[in-house]
Amino acid sequence: MTDAFIADLRRIAGDDGVFSEPLDVLTYECDALTHLRTAPAAVVLPSSAGQVQEIVRLCAAHGIPFVARGHGTGLSGGATPVEGGIVIALSRLNRVRSVDIANRRVTVEPGVTNLEITRQVAPFGCYYAPDPSSQQVCSIGGNVAENSGGAHCLKYGFTVHHVLAADVVLPSGELVQLGSEFADPVGPDLLGLLIGSEGTLGIVTSVTVRILRKPESVQTLLAAFDTIDAGGAAVSGIIAAGIIPAAIEMMDTLAIEAAEAAVHPGFPQADTVLIVELDGPDAEVRALFGMVEDICRRSGATTIEVARTEEQRARIWRGRKAAFAAMGRVSPNYYVQDGVVPRTRLPEVLSRIRDLERTSGLRIGNVFHAGDGNLHPLICYDEKIAGQAEQAEAVAAEILSYCIEAGGSLTGEHGIGADKSQYMPKMFNDVDLSLMKRVRDVFDPGGLCNPGKVFPTPRLCGEVPGPYRAHPAERAGAAERF
């Protein structure tokens, strides 16, 4: 990257909006998937959509790759910089543009946090439904890129179900609105395509989301089980009874232990705990909650704790939402996976994971969205022990293969990013990937917009070149590379 290019960036974003010194760009070397790191040639912080356009046009003119970044909480390396490219950090685009209660919508810039939207509308009895665990800090722009879900997406869906319109700077520098302030935009749903495209089709500079009226009633219970199968049976029983809870979450012993160590939610000592939350009209929650309690009991729940107060409910969720970060209390390092299996295949896949735990010698905690089959195995390792990091990665890959074999997906909500792009051929064949690539090329013919993500490449950016080295687990026959 030339000094002239950096000077042009400074002209656009101001001296205080461009960093290129190694120490200054350090923060931007990775997102929350910290083991993938690349130093960007520069970081630019635009403060308007117009500046984003100018920066993107400049990149297009010079063939410089760019990676948009929200608040860097992504777990798949979707915001990992590209060698020789720039990071366009959107944290200064953080204004709430309009709060329109009458029309049930809020328009914000991409750097506004997920939770801030709910804060804006809570005084009017409304909220924004998607609630990823990182909602206090994650940006809505990142949510759009990743199609974020959260614990409550079983009933309420994902980001794609809650965004009405977005202003997008295309890789050409053109600014377009996708979606519409009115329902039923004419033509193919390009907004729906953009959401979840992991920053590879454009950069959002404004997002209009739908807000919902808060439900009349919310009830949460925590049920403990002696076996994961019993917990799984309760989940199946609830769905079979025709009940769609707002959330059904499961945690295993290791995850419970970690959460207890970190935030003391007062979870029972058990093999498995199940958190079930129902929301909706009073009458509905009252009627269905009794059914859920019965199903849990019949499935072998050893204890059932019903949250009687908002404080108790918050405590249960604190335990669940802190579980990832809490793994730091029980293991020096951990690797989070995000595979999905059809709900009915959960017991079988979980039992394979427990077998893998035994054969690999690495502890694996399980915290997951049981209602929709989205696993979050937490693979514990110690990077100071030679080979363990690689082994953890191989174990993670093995777990993904179980998910695919069961008819599931590589990722439920964290995205493919740079982390899992090499596994895409396990789920999609050449024809599938080629059609997706053609769609990508329509938006980004120059391949400058977040390259190296989603699509498998012969070698990942940032990966050390050289001959392929087998992982210890592969050599031991515990895992295979795909």
């Binding site: 009458a102 879900g149 009115f182 969205h369 769609v439």
Partner: protein, 427 residues
Amino acid sequence: LSVALRGTSIADLRFDGQAIRTRAAEADRDSVDGIVPDLVVEAESPGAVAASLQWADQHSLSTVIRGSGSKLHCGAVPAAVDVLLDVSRVSRILQHRGGDLTVKVEAGARLHDVNELLQQRGQWLPMDPPFADCATIGGLLATNDSGPQRHRFGTPRDLVIGIEVATMDGHIAKAGGQVVKNVAGYDLSKIMSGSFGSLAAIVAATFKLSPVPAASSTILVPHLDADAMGRVVEAVSASQLEPVAFELDVRAPLAGTPEIACLLRFTSFRAVVEAETANASARIAAVRPAFRVLTGDQEREFWLAYRRRPWEEPGIVVRASWLPGSIGDVLSMVRNLSREAAIEVIGRTGIGSGLFRIDAGREIQLDVVARMRASGTFGNVVVLRAPAPLKTREWVWGPATASASVAAALKRELDPRGLLGAGRGPL
């Protein structure tokens, strides 16, 4: 059968070593806005659909894809249709995973048949579009059509979790998957939604399902004026009621007083429906004491007739959207327009989207649509049904938006010769 399509032989229209079924088009059942296709291709498998598209592409034949044909009236009048690709035989229900609340079906399967099977197992694909008896899955996705229960369940694009499409190069590609939560790869089902068959042919799709509710009831509040309708909407919106449908029903005779009604439907377990109905009734009674509660067969028949109504009477049918908070403006606009045309509206109050049937002479029909587009109250005004002489591309789909260039580029990539849809739009 000997059909000369610009000298093309149909002998090479084959899949898996077998000739793909073709027949001559019949004017009464195969024409598209009065244009009789040169050939009808009756594909019987996804592979045959893909092979047919590749064949059409190789020979530059304009192609219209048809499921049951229930929405073939949508779109501009084609210049010519070389091939009508009928996919109604590609209709297997491939997999119902009850415990996972998912179903995978081929595109030509009828919603009615899918739901009949699912209902035996206590589940349904929650769509209640206008032509529910014959509409196919592929057509529903391509048009993103929906009905009153959109209020709760969304449109087909909100329910689809996986898709398989046949492209003009003869390939079948998939996106999404079989699980309700999945962000791997691009969600190509979205670009099929609203494409009206102009980008590729949908051959199969997977959906998330809902349990069939045990009970249902509908509150019908008739004889409202615009002000009272506004107050009913306010009362419901301010509450924490969770209806599955929340409808605006307007019948405005030419130069008369509009009859306005509001409809609220609740479905769930019996005790819940009773409690919600009682709660809603109390709130509505404060605005308008005279209303009816429909249940059982009476309710079922009411909704069937309601959804069909705009399509069974004369006039053009227009889909238009508005901001949910501007219901007062919508009603006053309808009242103004009804000075020159009889107008009927059935619409989703909470979403701000509805069907407008406009019965008047052609000049007035053109004028009403133009006024709706210019009003600022309405957006995304699309003419779904109109006499062929009126249906130019611009009039049917409305003025191009800023993102039209992206959609056009997508069209050029997927259908470089511009054959799919035969110029009917939107692409």
